[in-house]
């Protein structure tokens, strides 16, 4: 592949525009960025519209645009689980998170671990929440880089050797610099540009590409019929039905527990803003559904047998399906727009994720265990430095370690993050849980979830659970969080009673 000069120029120009916006953002809604809640939460002043762009940019990442259609391209109907997943996240957002926002606002909490620390008065539980958040987010940042790398190579930049990594390294230095200066204001502002580019790209794609391929009937006709629907249950196994539904439910429950979603939610200016967004973000889900269909369009366009794209597919596998489809269908300048949309779509979540990790580290490890009396300015400075380290870590991770590991770790990350459901969500609605019971539940869920993934060699998160001779293949995250919940429910009254007896005997 030689460098596509037109596309690359448009790409670089748009990238430059966004980088400039990132730095300008420091002066947007001017405030003292040496306060952590200003740098790391945008001063909690984002209204409905900005929150819509920020959460949209946060949740629908570059990796989504690449990986969801790639999954549909490779696995067919099963890959479409992303759609029921995005349908389910909004009722959860509506019911749960305005409440968390309110408590966090009243007490000045910046992270979920801050909230857990105060709610249960337990340092170990807050530590577990903070560490789980950081560890689950790191591979997620790395995957954003993978998404960016795919489009950079598709533009025709060299893919191998040291020069192959140079564009990615430059992009990340820019990202690190504007995140350091502007904090959460940068991704919030950039998300607006990113969304416009994405919407233009997707609407062009669903109009232009089907017209070229002979309409939707031709597209669906080119897909092998067995891929078009889920395999029905056979014998004593529920087959892909239970897998499809548990993937959707488990992913939906996990999503808002990720630190970067939490950061997006806590930066809203009121609970009402969050509830409005629970309705308005569905527009994004619809676009995601259309993006998923790009996988089938790639099959219909036979990009995999086109010698032009053989090198790309050899290097990136199914993740190359969408870039190849765009190269095949759009004129060069519009390829530049589309690829810029994807690459900028990586910058926004990567910035928010690194800010979220930095907030967690600073508030719940540094301030909690090393420097309890640090000043606000010291706290903010620490967070800025950590946000840099997190990004360096992600770049090293992607360059030094085989990509398959990043994907496997992200899969494990979903299983680990969902274990925060009992302490974070249940704590909002009931006081009936004991902190030690929640901690034991967390440990049990994390252990069993990891074991389930290990039995599948860490390549799949679908665990064939057997109950009374019926096999229920399902998402390990959902199964393991049920174990977590059972432990927490069963042990809470027991440990509460033990604690009371301990207090009683201690005072005697």
């Amino acid at each position: 592949m030689s460098l596509n000069v037109t596309a690359a120029s448009v790409f670089v120009a748009l990238f430059g525009l966004v980088a400039w916006l990132g730095f300008v953002a420091a002066r947007w809604r001017k405030a003292d960025l040496n306060q952590l809640h200003e740098w790391g939460l945008g001063g909690r002043r984002f209204g409905t519209v900005v929150t819509w762009f920020l959460l949209g940019g946060d949740l629908y990442t570059a990796y989504t645009f690449i990986a969801v259609p790639a999954l549909v391209y490779g696995a067919g109907a099963m890959g479409f689980f992303a759609v029921p997943y995005t349908i389910l996240i909004y009722p959860i957002l509506f019911l749960v998170f305005p409440r968390l926002w309110k408590i966090a606002h009243e007490h000045g909490h910046v992270t979920a671990a801050d909230y857990v620390r105060e709610r249960f008065g337990s340092r170990p539980l807050a530590l577990a929440v903070a560490l789980t958040g950081i560890i689950a987010t790191m591979p997620y940042i790395a995957l954003q880089l993978v998404g960016m790398e795919v489009v950079i190579h598709a533009l025709g930049f060299p893919a191998d050797g040291w020069t192959g990594h140079l564009p990615l390294i430059i992009a990340f230095i820019v990202l690190a610099a504007f995140t350091y200066t502007s904090g959460l204001r940068a991704p919030a502002l950039i998300a607006v540009v990113k969304d416009m580019l994405i919407f233009v790209t997707i609407f062009a794609a669903i109009v232009i590409i089907p017209a070229k391929l002979g309409g939707y009937s031709a597209i669906f006709a080119s897909v092998p019929p067995e891929k078009l629907t889920l395999t029905p249950p056979s014998g004593d196994s529920l087959g892909s039905y239970s897998a499809y539904l548990t993937l959707a439910v488990g992913s939906a429950l996990a999503l808002f527990l990720y630190p970067h979603s939490m950061t997006g939610i806590l930066s809203a200016s009121s609970g009402k803003v969050i509830r409005r967004n629970a309705a308005a973000l569905s527009a994004y889900s619809f676009v995601l559904g259309l993006i998923a269909l790009l996988g089938y369009m790639a099959i219909a366009a036979r990009v995999d047998s086109n010698p032009l794209y053989a090198a790309g597919f050899a290097k990136h596998g199914a993740n190359f399906a969408v870039p190849a489809l765009f190269l095949d269908s759009f004129s060069s300048w519009f390829v530049g727009v589309a690829f810029a949309a994807i690459a900028i779509g990586a910058l926004v979540p990567a910035a928010i994720m690194s800010i979220a990790c930095a907030n967690l580290f600073t508030r719940n490890l540094y301030k909690e265990f090393w420097k309890p009396h640090c000043t606000d300015a010291e706290e903010a400075r620490m967070a800025k430095i950590v946000s840099l380290l997190v990004k360096v870590g992600a770049v090293v991770f992607v360059l030094a370690i085989p990509k398959a590991y990043a994907i496997q770790l992200q899969l494990l990350g979903g299983i680990w993050i969902i274990q925060l459901l009992p302490p974070i969500v249940l704590g909002l609605f009931t006081r009936g849980f004991n902190a030690h019971a929640l901690l034991l539940g967390w440990a049990a869920g994390t252990g069993i979830g990891t074991y389930m993934a290990a039995t599948r060699g860490f390549v799949s998160s679908i665990y064939p659970l057997e109950i009374f001779g019926v096999t229920l293949p399902g998402y390990a995250a959902l199964y393991s969080v049920l174990v977590n919940l059972l432990v927490a429910v069963a042990l809470s009254p027991v440990l509460d009673r033990l604690a009371r007896r301990g207090v009683a005997s201690g005072t005697r």
Binding site: I87, Y241, G271, S282, F286
Partner: protein, 95 residues
């Protein structure tokens, strides 16, 4: 939670039970796992789920509006757990 408090919550938050509808729409996998009837050549499996997104959004908007409509009639002030504090420096909380 006292009975009186419960009753007041129910009067105010009953629309939230409607949020079970999106879940029911996606839970019936065997129902929508089929090709026919197609819509504009798109198999049922796909257009049903895309339509479910729109239905889910409609439900969320309905719940939001119903709550907005109920709130002023049942109670005022800061005693309720989900009331909002607007600290936005910009007009309202739109931007």
């Amino acid at each position: 939670m006292t009975g009186k408090h419960m009753k007041r919550s129910l009067a105010r938050y009953w629309p939230r039970f409607l949020l079970v509808i999106p879940f029911l729409l996606v839970a019936c996998v065997p129902f929508y796992n089929r090709i026919e009837p197609t819509l504009a050549d798109i198999p049922f499996f796909y257009w049903y789920q895309l339509a479910a997104i729109l239905l889910g959004a409609t439900v969320a908007i309905t719940v939001y509006l119903l709550e907005e409509w109920i709130t002023p009639t049942t109670e005022q002030g800061s005693s309720d757990p989900d009331s909002d504090i607007d600290v936005s420096g910009t007009p309202g909380d739109i931007l």
